[in-house]
Amino acid sequence: MMSEEIIKDVIVGEQEDYLINLGPQHPSTHGVLRLEVCLKGETVKYLNPHIGYIHRGIEKMCEALTYQQIIHLTDRMDYLSAHINNEAVSMIVEDALQVEVPERVKYIRTILDELNRIASHQLWWCAFGMDLGALTTFFYGLRDREHILDIFEESFGSRLLHSFVCPGGLMHDVHPNFQKRTKEFIKYFRTKLPEYDQLLTGNIIFQNRSKGIGYMSRETAIGYGVTGPSGRGSGFSCDVRKIAPYGAYDKVRFNEILETEGDVFARYKVRMAEMHESLSIIEQLIDNIPEGDFTAKMKPIIKLPAGEYFRRVETARGELAVYVVSDGNKTPYRMKFRTPNFSNLFVMNEIASGYKIADLIAISGSLDLVIPDIDR
């Protein structure tokens, strides 16, 4: 319907305008996303995102699964912050049943959140550099991400989709080497982060391609609900870890990174600084993990009391909110995920209009979109 109108508009209107489809199999969209871009010359007039190519109906599938089984589906929404998604659903169950999880669980969950955030930002960094033509960054980012994935593999047995958090605690305890290897990683990554700046941040080509591009004002960010590093690059203070602390975030000191420029480079700077912050959060927690159980006592069949429950967490891309309506059964009556990428995608028409088509790649890269998270 919408596309027919646009085509008509283009044919009847100015003859120089034309439509191109970016995607759904374009490498710069990092998944199956189709952007219908209307161009005048090389300038983007407007764009119309088409989603749904990887829609699996996760929200509907949740209605047939128990709360323990839902966890493995949330892995597959935003697969780069799988651990944080798991935590959101687990916390909503713990809230509803009023279960107090052991301190040890809170500490480990928070450390894993931050490791996951670093891994996600590393992958974003290498892919973003590659979008802008700096192929070298891809190897350097993945080299360091491998260290985190090795820690994950040792503790949970899987590298990307680790359904490790479960309602009440963790699936099993972390590996005995976990503390040692995490400390080694912090030490290692602190020496490698300056390389990132030398390779890409200071690079004149990169700076010229990212500064002043894709301006998003604070009002736009709030209006479209753009959260996470993309929103914070526009000065929108939206860090759930600060606003509504969960896990062990109230026990650590960290800064919410805010940049006010609102362009692609500002969003880049926020993510780079967040990696430093995440390292310092892990550093504060890793030596103080209390002894204790790795899970609270839970019944084998979890039934939430009838009612509505809501919980939000900060994933690597923004605010993930989970809303559950329960009718007292062991499966939810309705499950709704407010995923960060969905809101972050639809601001693109606003911030990419008026820039060149090459800048569109930079803008979509700076929003750090994960398509399965949009389609669910």
């Binding site: 699964l65 323990q68 089984q69 966890i71 493995h72 589906l73 070298t136 350097y140 080299r143 491998e146 593999e153 040792e154 503790s155 949970f156 047995g157 899987s158 989709l161 359904s163 479960c166 699936m171 099993h172 590996h175 390389e195 030398q198 390779l199 890409l200 200071g202 690079n203 004149i204 080509i205 700076q207 084998p300």
Partner: protein, 159 residues
């Protein structure tokens, strides 16, 4: 005149940023010891996966071909994807009572998402994760496996 000076300042500043990046790549180019790539097909003999690696679901058997599965079906209920099917049989034991034993513990590797719920919830610890990860086969039907070995029996706990 001023603009020309500005042009050359920018040019040399830009070149110096490129040089900073080239220095990093050059450092690694001349020190191949820092390379961490695993030569996968060549290192198959020495490659050892982590102890907890979730490669596939296995049912450990001891030297007498005994396993611990009672055929209760909890793993089948807990599996979110229906990748486990248990066919049970009723067999008379030594005292003449009918007892439930597993006939086949069928595992569909093609449907498994490795969430680990079956291994975690098994009351008799009959299931475990195996480290095998090379699952490519030519025929889809080969991905359906029977976990209990032929002729195997349930391990009786000494009371």
């Amino acid at each position: 005149m001023n603009s020309i000076a500005q042009y050359f300042t920018d040019l040399f500043k830009g070149l110096s940023t490129l040089w900073a990046g080239m220095r990093v790549t050059g450092k690694y180019f001349f020190s191949p010891g820092a390379i961490v790539t695993q030569q996968y097909p060549e290192n198959r003999k020495t490659l050892k996966m982590e102890e907890r690696f979730k490669g596939e679901i296995i049912m450990p058997h001891d030297e007498n071909n005994l396993h611990a599965c009672t055929g209760c079906g909890i793993c089948e209920i807990n599996c979110p994807n229906g990748s486990i099917e248990i066919l049970t049989d009723r067999v008379a034991n030594a005292e003449g009572k009918l007892e439930r034993v597993i006939d086949k513990h069928i595992y569909h590797l093609s449907m498994c998402t490795f969430c680990g719920l079956c291994v975690k919830t098994c009351p008799s610890d009959a299931l475990a994760f195996g480290q095998e990860f090379e699952h490519a086969v030519f025929d889809r039907s080969k991905l359906t496996k029977v976990l209990n070995q032929p002729g195997s029996k349930i391990r009786k706990e000494a009371k």
